[in-house]
């Protein structure tokens, strides 16, 4: 394809994507150096917003919580996703139906799923989970404060994130499993490898690329998680489960002060964090494309 043709074909998309992304991004960058109210021009105040953001313990807590959530939820998604994919891979005619059902939590609106999720735990609304667990354990389980206590709240947040990201991880890994060579597997079986050994030494190494890609997407999507935290972590300001996105939202949009400059500075810091995390995979893509 000629260069001119390339640019003619990509032009509309580039204008949409870059025009309407770069202008807001530039605005965010500028606001991060300003003291500003919505709808008014800001006044330049240098690095004051950054100093305020970095000096506030709330930012450190939000980063820790967000990174922790990302690591734990991704790990669960990968492990459960692998087991599920291996099971679904054995299915015959039931496979389309099972895949369809498993996809539901991934394709429904996150905020709506999280609202439905919160009703399972909230004792004001029936608390079916407490009820069932107490029925099984004979009441030993009690009634944890799912929304106000730090760790029970973390538990339901992780459970929710795994619930809606698991189908994605499972499907990707399933697609990877389709590409594992049958001959190698048979050879391993003839050599006396147990099923566990076949998974550990044949299948997992050969889908390393897919697993890497799943981790990349999981990282990008869990860091940005916002929708489901609105219903699931209403007390996050006091119980320490405030994520970076919720923090930005509160500072810049929903709290009375509506400090747009400070919110923008935190956004810029988040972008830097994401770029650092993305760097290895970006390098891989460039390397692959050059080859």
């Amino acid at each position: 394809m000629k260069r001119r043709q390339f640019w003619a074909l990509v032009a509309p998309s580039v204008v949409v994507m870059f025009g309407f992304m770069l202008v807001p991004l530039y605005q965010t960058l500028r606001w991060s150096f300003e003291s500003v109210n919505y709808g008014e021009a800001g006044t330049f105040i240098g690095l004051t917003n950054y100093r305020a953001a970095l000096g506030d313990a709330r930012l450190g807590r939000a980063v820790l919580f967000t990174v922790g959530l990302t690591v734990v939820a991704s790990a669960f998604c990968i492990v459960f996703g692998y087991v599920l994919a291996a099971l679904v891979n054995k299915l015959g005619r039931a496979r389309p139906l099972v895949l369809g059902i498993l996809l539901i939590s991934y394709v429904s609106p996150q905020v709506v799923g999280a609202v439905a999720f919160s009703w399972l735990f909230d004792s004001n609304f029936g608390g079916i989970v407490d009820y069932l667990l107490n029925a099984v354990s004979g009441g030993a389980f009690g009634n944890p404060l799912w929304f106000t206590s730090t760790w029970p709240n973390r538990l339901i947040i992780v459970a929710n994130v795994v619930w809606f990201m698991l189908p994605f991880a499972m499907l990707m890994i399933l697609a990877g499993l389709q590409g594992v060579s049958e001959e190698t597997l048979e050879a391993a079986e003839i050599d006396g490898a147990s099923p566990l050994q076949r998974h550990l030494y044949v299948i997992i190494p050969s889908i390393r690329g897919v697993l890497g890609f799943v981790v990349l997407i999981l990282t990008m999507d869990v860091i940005r998680v916002f929708d489901s935290l609105i219903p699931l972590a209403p007390q996050s300001l006091t119980n320490g489960n405030e994520s970076l996105m919720v923090y930005i939202y509160r500072v810049a949009f929903s709290e009375a002060s509506r400090n747009l400059g400070l919110g923008s500075a935190i956004s810029v810091l988040t972008i830097i964090l994401i770029l650092i995390l993305l760097f290895p995979s970006i390098r891989n893509i460039v390397k692959e494309a050059r080859a």
Binding site: M1, S13, M17, F18, P24, L91, V112, A175, G263
Partner: protein, 303 residues
Amino acid sequence: MTLDIPAASTRSSQAPVDLAPEAGRGRPASRRSRRAGVVTAVVLTIVCLLMVFPFLWAALSSIKPTDVAFANPPVFRFAPTFQPYVDLWQTTDFYLYLVNTLVVAVISTIVALIVGLPCAYALSRYTGISSVVLLVLALVFRALPRFAVVLPMYDISQSLGIYDTTYALAGALIVINQPFTIWLLRNFFAEIPPELDEAAMVDGCTRFGVLRRIMIPLMGPGILTAGIFVFLFAFQEYLTAAVLTDTSSKTVPVFIATQLGQNLPLLQQASAATVLLTLPVIGIALIAQKYLVAGLASGAVKG
């Protein structure tokens, strides 16, 4: 010649026995492999139930009489009622929110595809460095924190006087989902051999002609896949809709989230709204499962 959707479901046609384990194929089903099949079936049934349980519970709450809808301990024996659905329809603007959600999703899907298709085609065929740079930038854009883009959009839409309109929200979603759209479509285009383009051009077709007459017809399933994804993304969106809309173009996810802090009848209406919003999504998941799987799988193969 059709575009081969690398569906994970292709194998389903080969296995003759329902839930038959792979190892049992081609030889008499041994007792061990049959037992493995039963275990697989039981585990997957439990997982499937757990995955839909939040929605089942919401559905159950929505048809209980209001006084026991969220009673603690839960009530399991009740006379079903559809009153919350009637109230939802009659006393709130749910209908308006539903129309808004659909309008935003349809507009943003159509425009995103029209804008994204030529770009994705060019990205799959052009081997220059600008192609790689664009793809990497798209990936970075996809990973950006939404607020870095959405809050300025809020400010801009207010100063332009298009705040709280469905087309402003649709426009924002087209922009935000464009990186995903072009990545997905580009991966589908890359599966069509470039020799096909060359043959058509030897026969006198222009580049644009190749795209219009050959690629787009061939890409049918790929375009459908991308369309389903972009539609679902728009349908699901909460953050952007919460910031860019107020009353007149509010969408259903925003409505459901704002009902949360309300009292009992309204809360039960929210569970009815949850059911009404989730039912079509479940329909899409079951009917278009093949395309959703193909869309996700294509990313994996190329990533």
